[in-house]
């Protein structure tokens, strides 16, 4: 990769002139910590005392028996503080913000996990914090909005565009071009202009480093396959990075097929021909766009996967066939979530449940002497409203009605 952050033809830094100096400064500081042999240790120390690192690698015995194929291991990123892998990136960038001497952080959020993680980091480090969140996502993820506000962040619902993740990113950039002297934009995924794809992947690589060591300790060999869901691609980059050099390990990214790939209502950029190469939000990658280059509406039951672009690093892995990309529909995801809860007592986030659904389609065909790892990027209790709707749970509905009655009184 060259200094402008290209991965094959993907990546780059398509930034407005006003941010040029800000990015120079960011690249210099990021290179500083990368080359500082003490930084990584301080980062690991922070993550092991403030979050729950190393997160466990759980053997899912019941699921393994259920499918009768390879042994299923689950990397438990849901056990991070704030309940998702987002904490890794956010705390890393928080340390960087301290080095840069800035006092305010802003972030976009889709599912709300990145927003909650950023609000947490801001509270801990004493930064002012503003979170941009699409209006549609504010409605789907109210509990996360509640927690962000309780931790002192200002949550701004974005009412422009499609009112989801990409629109929140645009709005965060608009804030940044006004306030860059005091403010760092904590981009939540391995997308956007250089150095973000590299920097976010760098912090998330802690997942892959741990998982590789853990599986070798447990099984004495590497997994046949590693599964991760892919929205922007940060949890996938995190776990894949631990296994990419190993020829025997297939990295499988699972995208959101939404209501079905054929319906067009999905967010699958790499496993379909629906996306094409374009330049938006500061970087070049595969986007779901029309012939003119206008971005299309996307759909996923999981707010965190509902994104038009994808990490330029993953686009390059896709083109080079170094990773394989599949998809799972909303329906398959709900079924995978239900099965995982009932067999293992583990509640994956709807985003993560895509990785489970992708793995469940294949694991029965692998021999029992092999093993696989599923990255559980986050926990699902944040999704209680969406999941309860999907399960059409009558008792839940009755409870909400009663609660609403209490508020009215």
């Amino acid at each position: 990769m060259d200094k402008r952050g290209y991965y094959g033809e993907f990546g780059g830094a398509f930034i407005p002139e006003i941010l040029s100096a800000t990015f120079d400064d960011l690249v210099a500081h990021f290179n500083g910590i990368k080359n500082d042999p003490l930084f990584w240790d301080s980062y690991v120390d922070l993550m092991s005392t403030y979050s729950c690192r190393a997160t466990p690698l759980t053997y899912a015995e019941n699921l393994t028996n259920h499918f009768g194929g390879a042994k299923i291991y689950i990397k438990r990123e849901d056990l991070n503080h704030t309940g998702a892998h987002k904490a890794n990136n956010v705390m890393g960038q928080g340390l960087l913000v301290k080095k840069m001497g800035k006092t305010r952080v802003i972030a976009e959020t889709g599912a709300g996990q990145h927003g909650v993680a950023t609000a947490t980091m801001a509270a801990k480090f004493g930064f002012d914090c503003t979170i941009y969140m699409g209006e549609v996502d504010v409605k789907r993820q109210r509990p996360n909005v509640f927690w962000m506000e309780q931790m002192g962040a200002t949550v701004i619902p974005v009412t422009d565009g499609t009112r989801i993740l990409k629109d929140a990113i645009n709005e965060a950039f608009r804030d940044w071009v006004t306030n860059m002297e005091t403010t760092h934009y904590v981009l939540g995924t391995a997308c956007g202009p250089h150095p973000f794809p590299e920097m976010v992947s760098y912090f998330q690589s802690i997942i892959g480093k741990e998982a590789r060591k853990q599986i070798l300790e447990r099984e004495g060999k590497l997994p046949a396959r590693v599964y991760a869901c892919v929205g922007g691609g940060s949890n996938a980059m995190g776990i894949f990075s631990g296994f990419l050099p190993d020829a025997g390990v297939t990295c499988v990214g699972v995208e959101a097929a939404g209501r079905g790939l054929a319906t067009g209502e999905h967010a699958s950029r790499l496993c379909t021909d629906d996306a094409s190469v374009g330049v938006a939000q500061g970087y070049k990658t595969f986007f779901l766009q029309d012939d003119d280059g206008q971005m299309k509406e996307t759909h996923s039951i999981a707010a965190g996967l509902d994104y038009v672009g994808v990490s330029p690093i993953l686009s390059q892995l896709h083109v080079e066939k170094k990773a394989r990309f599949e998809s799972a529909t909303d329906e398959e995801v709900i079924a995978a979530l239900k099965l995982t809860m009932q067999k293992e007592g583990i509640i994956p986030a709807l985003e993560s449940a895509h990785a489970f659904a992708g793995a469940f389609k294949e694991v029965g065909n692998l021999p029992p002497d092999q093993c696989i790892i599923i990255n559980q990027s986050g926990r699902g209790d944040k999704d209680i409203f969406t999941v309860a709707d999907a399960f059409d749970d009558p008792q839940w509905k009755a409870f909400i009605k009663e609660k609403a009655g209490d508020y009215r009184a």
Binding site: P16, E17, Q294
Partner: protein
């Protein structure tokens, strides 16, 4: 060929203290209305115009222009319609027109095809705020091939060295952002701006156009002697929103 726009600006400047450049979003509120707005602006004495090809992710634009982009796209405006519009406008009106849009519109169209069709439509140059020179090789080659001006932007955070780099890559004019932020917000015209514009002047021989927050007669008057062109962007769209298309002509006349 590269001298065309500059020569026009120099010549006009001999007769006027400051020139006016305006900005519209093509297809907002409709293609017909856009053409009518251009006609009114030209009749009122506008010297140059930026025609924005709408894009779904206009990252550098503030709420007014952002909404105009969205509305134009919702109404079904295609890039081909914008080229058709450009061809007609350049035929009907004498003033130079520039395209303003975002990288992806050019990238999907193909840099060479875009520059070629631009030249054939009589458009003099382009402003592409998310295409810095570091990423601009294909664009710069295509524009040079067609004799179109790539217009670059100076911002208050641009260093002197970088200003020289941008000046070397750009042609036609330099667009100077009067302040940080996105389009359409308030700007304080003050001593800081003067110092910055002095820096701009030292860094380039190209004519200076100043935009971002320029909205009334006072602002335009302030820029006299400090810049060659005052750029009115969001404010004319606001006028259309609030008072209708017919208010555009009187508004422009009142600026000078």
């Amino acid at each position: 060929m590269t001298i065309v726009l500059e020569a026009y600006i120099r010549e006009k400047r001999e007769k006027k203290d400051i020139l006016l450049m305006t900005h519209i979003v093509l297809g907002y509120p409709s293609m017909e209305a856009s053409m009518e707005i251009v006609a009114q602006m030209v009749a009122a004495g506008v010297d140059l115009m930026e025609l924005q090809i709408p894009f779904s992710e206009p990252m550098a634009d503030g709420p007014v222009i952002l909404k105009a982009n969205q509305k134009a796209l919702e109404a079904g405006v295609r890039v081909a319609d914008c080229f058709k519009f450009a061809k007609e406008a350049t035929k009907r009106f004498e003033i130079p027109f520039l395209f303003m849009t975002y990288t992806n519109i050019l990238f999907k169209y193909g840099m060479e095809a875009f520059a070629g069709d631009m030249a054939r439509a009589g458009i003099k140059g382009a402003i592409v705020p998310d295409l810095p020179p570091e990423e601009g090789d294909a664009y710069l080659n295509a524009m040079a091939e067609q004799g179109c001006h790539p217009v670059y932007i100076f911002s208050p955070t641009t260093t002197d060295e970088r200003m020289e780099l941008l000046s070397g890559k750009g042609s036609g004019l330099m667009y100077c952002m009067a302040r940080k932020g996105v389009t359409g917000k308030e700007t304080t015209f003050s001593h800081d701006l003067d110092t910055y514009l002095d820096r701009c002047k030292k860094a380039t021989d190209l004519p200076l156009a100043v935009g971002f927050g320029v909205k009334d007669k006072e602002d335009v008057a302030y820029l006299k002697g400090k810049a060659d062109i005052a750029v009115i962007g969001s404010q004319t769209i606001r006028i259309v929103n609030e008072q209708g298309i017919d208010a555009v002509g009187p508004f422009i006349r009142n600026l000078q």
